[in-house]
Symmetry: C2
Subunit: 269 residues, 2 copies
């Protein structure tokens, strides 16, 4: 492995450790993420960390670093390298991915991912994103979340990447956004883009934890809970039908248990 | 509409009526399917019928007959017409589709579909299938189900179509069949294939109802129920990631509520 890959891998591990510690600190009765390493038959592997807590009914924060002989994905979207640059070439992919499903319907679901990809010997990029999916949106929470993202992105990137999130986190068959948006970016190939991706990762806790603290005490009814379970169906639909990370993971022979950690603990249709 | 299309449409409606009546007769406390018509903005529509009963926690038996200006699907699999014969041409699609999710974990989930497609002025075919997905398979139930299918297919078709089902109802990312199989067929363009497709539709009740009667009284524990909810996740994964009907429906602007009637009522991951 090239030295840069080893360094990137270590930085993702460290990011994961900081986030896991920050989320565990929110759990009232000391629930901890349960870590499990997995190996990918084709090369590499990862460490999944799953939380089944009191505040978080289910959450996952996964680190992975996989490599393979043939990049299995057709690139799509703004800034994507040409198909010929990628198809059939050896690849390396590393990143951190998290989704948290709180028990209380008034605490929003959140997703964050940052990733590094290298394909062949010339093409490499960073990608990622973060979005908030409240069952019942509070304008003040949306403003806080986007405010943190605005700060980490700066105005130009925020304008581009929040528009990209609006398009990406969109449930086409329901003609509806998944939640209240956030940022999404991919194929960032500039010199400073690694630093930016890691800064996004480190903005997750300040963007999310204050919202959790503000909403965790709200009381909810059985009807709210039933509506939350139905509403979670949309999250499953998005992840299995449209989400690039899920589809990349499954097509590249990733571990289904790690990939489906993003799915809610209990869902109704 | 051509006279043949109107006739096919009526035959599918009648098939739906017979099946709905047969399934309602199994419900112990008189639960009935709830029918709702829907219109497709691009042309046609359907009638969904949903059951929320005591025996069947959730079930759907949908009739649809939709048409559109451009066939939205890339044909794939054994016997598929060439892409040029289909792409961008006007189409008509009609059929009946059902999925039943029993409450008792020992009563198997079942799926059945028969459909007719016409694309452009020259290409038309029948397709369909039926498969059984028991949480805990009983060899005797599997033998009964396949026995009925063997009879309606005859030996040559049964050999081909049950092999096709093994390939089709396969959850690739879990490297596992969805259940204990059944039959799957598509692109049947012979003169007698319409009669065959409707015979398959009418074999559904004799294939399934005796299994329901045999297993409905079995007692189950809370642990069985929890395991059933986790196991149902595989069904969702299959339908959203691989199922042609679901993907065709969503891509052709079908009604998501009708399409997702196939999804289990309560699922855990």
């Amino acid at each position: 492995m090239q030295p840069f890959r080893a360094e990137v891998e270590q930085r993702f591990r460290d990011l994961r450790d900081r986030i896991v510690a920050g989320l565990e600190a929110l759990e009232p009765a000391g629930a901890k993420f349960n870590r499990r390493a997995w190996q990918r038959p084709g090369g590499g592997g990862g460490e999944m960390s799953e939380l089944r807590g009191e505040l978080f009914e289910k959450g996952g924060c996964n680190f992975s670093a996989v490599s393979g002989e043939r990049y299995p994905f057709v690139p799509e979207g703004e800034g994507a390298p040409a198909a010929e640059e990628l198809q059939g070439k050896p690849f390396f992919a590393a990143g951190v991915s998290l989704v948290m499903h709180p028990h209380n319907p008034f605490v929003p679901v959140v997703h964050m991912n940052v990733r590094y990809l290298a394909v062949g010997s010339d093409v490499e990029w960073f990608g990622g994103g973060m979005d908030l999916t409240p069952f019942k949106p509070f304008a003040e929470d949306t403003a806080h979340f986007h405010g943190v993202l605005q700060k980490v992105c700066g105005p130009e990137r925020y304008a581009r990447f929040s528009r990209w999130a609006k398009e990406y986190f969109f449930i086409k068959h329901r003609n509806s956004e998944r939640g209240v948006g956030g940022i999404f970016f991919d194929y960032l190939r500039g010199k400073e883009d690694g630093a930016f991706a890691f800064a996004v990762g480190d903005s997750f806790l300040p963007a999310y934890a204050p919202i959790v603290e503000k909403r965790r005490g709200l009381r909810f009814s059985e009807a709210d809970r039933a509506a939350q379970l139905r509403w979670r169906g949309r999250y499953v639909e998005f992840n299995l039908l449209y989400d690039r990370g899920t589809i990349f993971g499954l097509k590249s022979g990733g571990n289904p248990d790690a990939i489906f950690m993003s799915l809610p603990p209990l869902v109704s249709w």
